[in-house]
């Protein structure tokens, strides 16, 4: 091959490097720098290049990791969980149906308090038709993993490193997500962090692991006498995690100069006291659109799990936000609202803030100025919380007729 996408990572990175790469290779690079011991994943579009890039650095001898090929995502998650339990710093990655196939093994890393790290290139689930393109499938199942969502390539590269920090500080597995294709396959500019800085941010620390000197049964059966206490123990352990994530963001900023927060806000002191709230690549679309639409703001959720309820309430209150426009790339056929909107609504419940949820960008449909304009316009007329709280935006009812939008 005349082009080597991972070339920059073949040797020690001594100083910050400005470059441009696709999201998946950037993640492969970031993970390389965290020096994982085991990489085990099964390829699926649009996640593929992340693992392919890692195989390249392992092949080049740059990364001394066990690169393990397995037959499925279920095997990948099972293997990765066990490897992590044995003390290895472990990375895996998946998307869509692969995430579903992992489902059986997903709760284990949480229960065993394993600092496993996983990348997700968000892609739709297959129903009623197959789609390889972007939707938010990851919001639909939640077993207690931490979850960091990225807007662009720089953020997803940084999230690769941050997730290792967060996993190992919280002893809970962390997934970091970017929108499939939109970020995974787009070339964007980013600045790489020197290897030495990453090493300092992600030192390998002692933690409880499977140990032949100290044998025990992991995941053994318990009677009703014990199970509830196990769950309660996990719940209590999860409480400080948002604080741990804030601390990781702070150390990351001190080391690299790049500032992240669990919730990031833009232009909240606007005239209409209205703000969009969403996560991922759409935030970029909104920020560009806001250069001409200064009468709305944006609340961008970077830490999706654990959901920052208190902080969101505080931000809405302090900025006197009266209306929130929730944009979500997933739907719910059964609930009052899709999952991301449901979390947001729960936080807003004591405040009585008005909101509506707009379902956009499913299966890779682009989210453009059209959707943002209409959402803003529709929100102007919302005066109460009556009726259906969500609507699909930019969907055809019949040929040349949009669902709930006048052309």
């Amino acid at each position: 091959m005349s082009i080597e996408p991972m070339k920059l990572f073949f040797k020690e990175i001594k100083k910050p490097i400005k470059t441009a790469m696709i999201g998946n290779y950037a993640v492969a690079g970031g993970i390389t720098q965290t020096d994982p011991d085991v990489i085990c994943a099964f390829p699926i579009t649009p996640q593929t290049q992340s693992v392919e890039g890692l195989s390249d650095v392992v092949y080049q001898g740059r990364l001394k990791a066990a690169f393990v090929n397995v037959e499925s995502e279920l095997a990948a998650m099972s293997y990765a969980t066990a490897a992590c339990a044995s003390g290895a710093r472990t990375f895996t990655a998946t998307a869509s149906q692969g995430y579903l196939l992992m489902a059986e093994a997903l709760p284990m890393a949480v229960g065993w308090r394993l600092p496993l790290t996983m990348m997700i290139s968000a892609r739709a689930f297959n129903a009623p038709n197959l789609s390889i393109w972007n939707s938010w499938e990851y919001v639909l199942i939640d077993f207690g993993w931490n979850c960091i969502v990225s807007e662009n390539v720089q953020e997803t590269y940084d999230a690769a490193i941050l997730s290792v920090m967060i996993s190992e500080d919280s002893l809970f597995p962390t997934m970091f997500v970017h929108d499939g294709f939109i970020i995974s396959h787009s070339v964007q500019q980013l600045t790489l962090i020197p290897d030495e800085t990453v090493r300092k941010l992600t030192p390998k620390k002692m933690r409880p692991t499977i140990d032949p000197e100290y044998p025990g049964t992991w995941g053994g059966i318990v009677t009703p006498d014990f199970f509830t206490e196990g769950r309660l123990g996990l719940d209590v352990a999860k409480k400080p995690v948002l604080g741990i994530i804030d601390d990781a963001f702070k150390r990351f900023k001190d080391a690299t100069g790049r500032e992240y927060n669990t919730i990031e806000t833009y232009n909240l002191e606007n005239s209409s006291k209205t703000a969009f709230i969403t996560m991922g690549s759409m935030c970029g679309n909104i920020i560009s659109w806001m250069t001409k639409n200064k009468d709305v703001g944006l609340i961008k959720i970077r830490t999706y799990r654990p959901f920052p309820y208190d902080e969101l309430q505080q931000i809405v209150q302090e900025n006197d936000i009266e209306k929130l426009i929730i944009l979500e790339k997933s739907d719910s056929l059964n609930n009052l609202l899709p999952p991301f909107a449901m979390s947001t609504a729960t936080a807003l419940y004591p405040l009585g803030t008005l909101f509506r949820c707009f379902i956009v960008g499913l299966g890779g449909r682009d989210v453009t100025r059209d959707e943002l304009d209409i959402a803003k316009k529709k929100m102007k007329h919302v005066m109460d919380m009556k009726g259906q709280l969500y609507t699909y935006l930019g969907a055809r009812e019949s040929a040349n007729k949009l669902h709930e939008v006048e052309l």
Binding site: A127, P128, Q188, M290, R396
Partner: protein, 330 residues
């Protein structure tokens, strides 16, 4: 043509957008990546999302600006100011000027002159640049790879970055000797580009948003009320125009596949192996199916049938005319 100074001024608070048309395997995405890497400012590049197949028409997009907030959008490019076409066989197959504003530049790798290119273009307010990138690539690189070469022409008409900036980007991406040859080819393309500005002297309109509202929703297609409730594609259903029988895979190939009726024994092995149902069969009077020929609309010249035919009844011949031998063999 805008001067370098004017372009710099525009970039301060606007985005300039590029689009590349190529065939899978020609490296259109690499060309757009190189633009981002060469540009002194903020830039992003997106391929047209999906699976890229050898020889199929591909698109990739670039947005460049000095204002970070403007390129921060992950929206697709609807209004390209500079469009580069790596393969002139695409001119008749794809609407290469879609969304282009008046004064935009269309850059084509071709041996045709501007009148011949102009005839295929409806908007007479566009500017056209032509370059015989294939010839330069063959002479300098020794291979028909035009993706870097065409960037020489792009630099000439756009001033978005310089040859030196592009050379730097190529040196970091490509291996030693290949990198040097590419830079040489780019310099030659810069010199040899032919420019045809529109007669009215219309400059690029970078202010008007020419995106068609809701074009991302493909309004003319059927809506949920008209589609099958379970998303099934029934074979006789012409509502949902999907599936490979909608795709002119025949344009992807670089060979004509020729069938010899005399030699054929009707064993049907080619029919089984053909990935695109390009083998035409007909039920004969004996009640059996017989091979009747090859459907050129679907045949992408993958050559599977040639390999499997036990009696050598199928062979290949190079395609003639513009755009032939489009994709370099790996």
């Amino acid at each position: 043509m805008l001067t370098e100074k004017q372009v710099k001024e525009i970039l301060k608070d606007h985005c300039l957008n590029l689009r590349f048309h190529a065939r899978g395997g020609q490296g259109g995405v690499t060309a757009s990546n190189l633009c981002v890497e060469s540009f002194d400012g903020y830039g992003v590049c997106q391929p047209k999302f999906g699976a890229e197949r050898m020889g199929s028409p591909t698109e990739s997009y670039v947005r460049l600006s000095a204002n970070y907030d403007l390129v921060r959008s992950n929206e697709q490019v609807y209004v390209p100011h500079f469009v580069s076409v790596l393969d002139d066989s695409l001119l008749s197959e794809v609407d290469v000027t879609a969304g282009m504003p008046d004064g935009g530049w269309l850059i084509v790798n071709t041996t045709m002159n501007q009148n011949e290119v102009g005839m295929t273009i409806a908007n007479k307010n566009l500017n056209i640049a032509t370059i015989d990138a294939t010839n330069i690539a063959m002479e300098v690189l020794g291979r028909n790879i035009t993706n870097t070469v065409i960037l020489g022409a792009l630099i000439r008409v756009s001033h978005l970055f310089t040859i030196d900036q592009l050379a730097d980007a190529i040196m970091t991406r490509f291996k030693g000797e290949i990198a040097g040859k590419n830079v040489k080819a780019i310099k030659r393309a810069f010199e040899e580009t032919c420019l045809y500005e529109n007669p009215g002297g219309v400059e690029i309109d970078f202010k008007t948003d020419t995106k068609v509202p809701w074009q991302q929703v493909s309004l003319s297609l059927p809506g949920y009320k008209e589609l099958d409730p379970a998303g099934v594609w029934y074979c006789d259903n012409k509502i949902m125009r999907v599936g490979s029988d909608q795709v002119n895979t025949g344009s992807w190939g670089e060979w004509n596949i020729v069938w010899d009726e005399e030699k054929c024994t009707d064993c049907a092995q080619c029919w089984f192996i053909c990935p695109d149902f390009a083998i035409i069969t007909e039920k004969g009077e004996d009640g059996k199916f017989h091979m009747k020929g090859i459907n050129t609309f679907f045949c992408k010249s993958c050559q599977n049938c040639i390999e499997i035919c036990p009696v050598n009844a199928i062979h290949k011949e190079p395609k003639q005319g513009p755009g032939s031998c489009a994709v370099p063999e790996a």
